[in-house]
Symmetry: C2
Subunit: 347 residues, 2 copies
């Protein structure tokens, strides 16, 4: 298992290392004869340059900026920060510098400002969650024209704009929830899809999930479910829920499209409504407690921590070792109940 070096190839071809390097990187200034000779050898041995040596030569500290909504305002994002920190820790001794930036989850203005601030730093790459469609496309454009590599996570925006996306298939995620609901709820049952939209930016997410959910039930043969959609009023979610529930006392099965299932469950408990089935998203502490107590049947895990962690490792390994960045990575849709919860929390 001999690994060939550029020196071996140079000797074999009877040229110098410099010439071999020129051939490898197609930098021209090589005679036809030398080119052919070297190319032939390269192909024969399927030469791959040692990425470690390449990286050492290129001793530059890569700057990567991560942009996401402030986890203090929406704790869905807390694990994303954990993922970033894990990457920082893991690559501490390498030549990478990772900086975190937060914006207000409902302020396009703060999103803009943060991006302008980052642009001034001219980082090598930006990893961002493009909550706001239009503003994100603008931001990505200006990053790219400054030669900055842009990767995205969590929110998929229709684009050839970004190099890479790490996240989940939200339509499929709605189908998963529907299938679970179908397994735990008898036929002839009313099912309620609840949208808690703390920031309008989630609208697309919620729609895709709803579509998947409804499509699943529409596709059933002898199906007979009434599916309602409830968009919880942001101004006063609790009252909005109470009103709905009091006028729909047959509603016992709920699919919450955001991480707010705890909010719904607390209201249900307040109204003393029994035998409800709730399926929601995200392993927040308050959700986890209710899952353990069987007040929530299933949570769907969107792997927020993994999303940022993987997004970052793609970038880092690209810079350090010339690895290709996958253009799209859709993570598995995790189904979580009270018993496998712990195995997700420990990872």
């Amino acid at each position: 298992m001999k690994k060939y070096t550029i020196k071996d190839i140079a000797e074999q071809a009877g040229v110098s290392k410099g010439t071999v390097d020129r051939v490898i990187h197609k930098r021209g200034k090589v005679s036809q004869k030398a080119l052919e000779k070297v190319t032939k050898i390269l192909e024969e041995i399927d030469y791959k340059p040692n990425p470690i040596a390449q990286s050492l030569k290129n001793n530059k500290v890569y700057l990567i900026c991560v942009v996401l909504p402030d986890p203090k305002e929406d704790n869905f994002w807390i694990p994303c920060v954990d993922g970033v920190n894990q990457a920082i820790e893991e690559f501490r001794s390498f030549l990478v510098d990772i900086k975190l930036f937060f914006y207000g989850p409902s302020s396009t203005q703060s999103f803009k400002e943060v991006n302008e601030q980052i642009l001034k730093l001219t980082p090598d790459a930006v990893l961002l969650s493009p909550l706001f469609q239009k503003e994100s496309i603008n931001a990505i454009k200006s990053f790219r024209s400054a030669g900055i590599v842009v990767s995205t996570f969590n929110s998929q925006i229709d684009l050839e704009q970004a190099v890479s996306f790490v996240g989940q298939d939200l339509y499929q995620s709605g189908r998963v929830a529907a299938k679970l609901m179908h397994t735990i709820v008898p036929d002839h049952h009313d099912i309620v899809i609840c949208h808690f939209s703390e920031s309008l930016s989630n609208a697309i997410h919620m729609q895709q999930k709803e579509k998947g959910f409804r499509d699943y039930f529409n596709g059933l043969k002898g199906a007979d479910h009434t599916i309602l959609t409830l968009s919880v009023d942001q101004a006063d979610p609790d009252q909005s829920l109470v009103n709905f529930l009091e006028s729909n006392n047959k509603a016992l099965a709920f699919f919450v499209t955001t991480s707010k299932s705890y909010n719904l469950v607390e209201i249900l408990q307040g109204l003393n409504r029994k035998n409800t089935k709730v399926i929601g998203y995200d392993l927040l502490d308050r959700n986890n407690d209710l899952l353990r107590k069987d007040k929530i049947s299933f949570l769907i895990h969107q792997s927020p921590k993994t999303q940022t962690y993987i997004g970052l490792t793609y970038l880092i390994e690209h810079f350090l070792f010339n690895k290709e960045i996958p253009s799209k990575k859709l993570l598995p849709i995790g189904i979580v109940n009270s018993e496998n919860l712990i195995t997700y929390l420990e990872n």
Copy 2:
């Protein structure tokens, strides 16, 4: 964001790079005075050597051998081979050489032979699935005394023998299955735990899963389930199943502790038994088909591909970049239904 090099430190301390290196690696032959000076600086800047430069210097091809049961004899292991191949592909250009070895899943003799063969190659590390308790401990001992790093996956053996284990908590996995069963099966129901033990080596696995499963139900307050255990006769599994089912026609809910759920389902279909609920393991093609057709309610995913892939990356990054090898990595227990199946298959 300046990264310090040993040259910087040497200059700061007024000594040579050699001396700094001696301090860092505690190789002695350093005067008290120099030692203190350098140590102080190292601590102040929290110096971490550049692992890329270290690795480049150490230009050695690391040999890692992977030992697992022949996937032709038990296709549970096919994805494990995929995981190995993924790691090979990903680290193709680095100085690592990964070799695969198979043994007969029910032949301790072939396990022994393979290990002897590997011992002769004196690899740097071995990653193995220690199916056979006793023989594995012996093998690991001889590897370790030859200075070979040993990591394990899939089967946990009670040991400080191996450096690392990647796998799942099987007891918890049984609990997950039980919880799922509990959600989909009415009370007052007979539940059957089915052990298909194609090789005796699985015995411990199955026991742990059974224990978790039973413990879950025993822990319920107003529970009222009859749980039977069926150990399917290896000599003639089909007949053995038919006999059992004909004398237990109340049995409609089944937990299959191995990847053979398809086998049970086919028999159930042959007997034309309806309304059965089956929970099993592993995303084999035959299981997946039945999951899609709703003949299996849930499959539990043990992430075999990830197990070998992670096991290998731990070893490789340890050798190449001095990363620490986690002594135990328990992967999330995946709950799979017809809708999130595809998201697992694509990963």
